[in-house]
Amino acid sequence: MSARPISDGKAAERRLGWWLCAPAALVMLIVAGWPILYSVLLSFQRFDLRFPDDKAWIGFDNYQAVLSSEYWWNAFGVTTFIMIVSVAIELVLGMILAIIMHRTLVGRGLVRTVVLIPYGIVTVVAAYGWRYAWTPGTGWLANLLDESTAPLTERPSAIAIIILAEVWKTTPFMALLLLAGLTVVPEELLRAASIDGASKWQSFVRITLPLIRPAILVALLFRMLDAFRIYDNIYVLTNGGQDTSSVSILTYHNLIGGLNLGIGSTMSVLIFLTVALIAFIFIKVLGTSTPGSDK
């Protein structure tokens, strides 16, 4: 009998592995892989559903149109601004929240339960809450302001409210990811630090922070990618009015409002490239480990 490079058992294991993964892989391929490819193809075509006969391959014309459009750059700027500001606030608030969840002496279960409400609540629902709260007359928050102001109708305050809604909803998620990091910091290290004479703040900065750096990077990566796709909050709060469109809102309007598949696809591809760039920077430059995604 000749020796076999792969025995039955090994071959069976491989086959089983493939069979078990096949359904999930197939669904992901059909529903995500193929549309991605398709949108790349569409982005090189003139394809407007209002003029379906006027379909043609036009190379990079769509890209040129989008990249020279001030609407696109305005949306891109708004999206980036919202992403950076809200993630920065979330990081600070999330860290405080994580420490409270980790350290609190009383009602730990209660705290961990209530923070899941913002996480779990439907974004659109929360957004309506904020919209009515800031609507003059109706809103309890708007009533705290000068009577003549309508914060959602002015660009700076509208963007601030969008950021508020975003921060309120996603800080708990950030906090949970950071909490995961905090729980693996050995208690002994902190005790050793305090015996070595470090204050609480010093041991947080010098010991805890460096140790949870991986968790911070992961949390930042997830949240930045997520914030860059911001859609629901803006749709409800301003629907892109007062120049508050995000790239997702703009793309959606080109598709459903404008029925322009070529331009919509081009924007889709550009958003995807931006997201890929962010992920690339985090993973390759900052050395973020790529763990199980949770969002």
């Binding site: 089983l16 078990l20 209660l110 439907v122 859609y231």
Partner: protein, 273 residues
Amino acid sequence: MTGAQIRWSILNLVVVVYALVPVLWLLSLSLKDPSTFTDGKFIPREWTFDNYKNIFDVGEFTRPLINSIGIAIIATLIAIVLGVFAAYAIARLDFPGKNVMLGASLLIAMFPQVSLVTPLFEIERRLGLFNTWAGLIFPYVTFALPLTIYILASFFKEIPWELEKAAKMDGASPFQAFRKVIVPLAAPGVVTAAILAFIQCWNDFLFAISLTSTDRARTAPAAISFFTGASQFEDPTGSIAAAAVVITIPIVLFVLFFQRRIVSGLTSGAVKG
């Protein structure tokens, strides 16, 4: 109570207020009599359930609610079944292509959904899936899969290898070992993954407004955004608030009953990474 306990209690209170006030505001709004909407008060002056009665009487909410429940449950079930298979293979078996599978999942988890909306809109229109349950179930399953695969794989990895070997030695076939030993032990992970997948599907808005056009498949979050009120001249504020509260109920129930599971599910991926 010691000083430290009091300090922590105050901090906890701040967190509770932070988390609940916006929700309580919607609840209050939904219970306000329409004539008092514009008083801007946090607590209703006149209480009424009319807003709730309205949304179910008019019927513009009933059908979307059924759509939401049905679509989210079906998508969750499919994602769990497919996810269990794939996660088991990834956690337990050695086969080429495993890392590709993991990488693809991660890619999809991070993918901007709006990038899929355009092509899916066009593809579904052609296939006749536009504005159907299936048309939403497919993307929901796809976006729930990475989450379920990662959560389940991390649960599977915690089950000692030797248990499976023991089952084989006890005469079980690989499938029997999976069904009788691994699945019962992974049940908590399955529940966790199912809850998170459901929340994710329940939450979706972008696909729901892009891939539907009528109440045939439109889900509750999308329907709310189209509310016009009981009559053309009526302000939809009350209906929207009431509907918003209704679709928040399942989330609150999950959070109350499965707090530990949700927290562990959300954090498992981050720690293991």
